[in-house]
Symmetry: C2
Subunit: 225 residues, 2 copies
Amino acid sequence: MVESEVSHSHPYVPRNLDLPGFVPLVLSESTIIGVYGLSALLIATLIWILSGLLTKKTKFNRFLMCWWTVSGFTHLLFDGYIVVSPEFYKDNTAFYFAEVWRVYCKCDSRYVIRDAGVLTVSVLSAFVAGPASFIALYAIATGKSYSYILQFATSLWQLCLVSVYFISTYLKKDNFASSPYHYYAYFIGANTCWIIIPTIITIWSWKKICAAFQLIQGQKKSKLG
Amino acid sequence: MVESEVSHSHPYVPRNLDLPGFVPLVLSESTIIGVYGLSALLIATLIWILSGLLTKKTKFNRFLMCWWTVSGFTHLLFDGYIVVSPEFYKDNTAFYFAEVWRVYCKCDSRYVIRDAGVLTVSVLSAFVAGPASFIALYAIATGKSYSYILQFATSLWQLCLVSVYFISTYLKKDNFASSPYHYYAYFIGANTCWIIIPTIITIWSWKKICAAFQLIQGQKKSKLG
């Protein structure tokens, strides 16, 4: 029997999903998640240290710089990869991004069947939110006047996409997760970061922008008065 | 034969779509579209006249007030109706909103089969963009400090949803329109309004917000200088 013709059973639901050429995980699930967690922590730490040494930003702004870097890499590399790799589940080279998506599909099998809804969310994450995150990092570092509005825009974009993702899942009334652990840890847990932090940034930048207009309106009134 | 059991053929694609209980249009297509166009024009004219009489807003701000009113009613009434009316195609009372959706389905039959993707877009249009549009109208009329950021947010939300709508349609590689006329007039034509105007508002409010921060930054520098 030729190696490429070996048929492996997959862990995804629905169980009767036909995935010819599926290759099981090469790395362990904890290794795959650990590598993402450690990479994110390493990048965030690097940005935290560099922003402390090179700029006079507040701790909150330095936290935002860490967030936008991690968020930018996540969108560009992970969402970008799944958009251009329809056959990721056949990859037998232990390529890290293919392995990550094989794990993530345990909480949402729609990526393995190229569901148009979830792919749309990935397209708009990878090619809009991804680049915007890095521009936000640059805008904070250099104190651009568009820093607040860009961070507001990117966070609202993320919130809109995560809403589309969750509501479309609810409306499909289907169970796309292989186990409650995968559902709560990845589908709910991981995505909740992209609700909580964007919500905080949206409210914070909204307040900053309103305060700016109140200041200008106040100045105009005091001049007129 | 009992009246409710009469089976009518539907005009939607795919042609083999099974829609038991489908009732054909009672009003003519031009009447249905005409009523929407005239209502929108009437509402916009009313807001234009009232805003001229009651406020000292610029013509562009008065145009925005007209837009947010028409946009708000469209989201709340039309998107709201389709979300809560899964059996609209069975309505035999010539109820206007059911008639409108029976026409719109000629350019996108996914609403008739309750596709989760398009319904998600309607949910987020009706219950987020709808109310936000009316708050934007109020914010412009009363000169609130959050006027620019709210208009920016609502327009960006609309742009995100219309992107989801168009990209998911493209990725499904299907033809959901009954004819090229319906495709270009409704699917492309009508939705393009929700690209062009939100894009203009997004750019305009972005510039206003940046200008406010530049003014404040300039004042800070001149004070320090």
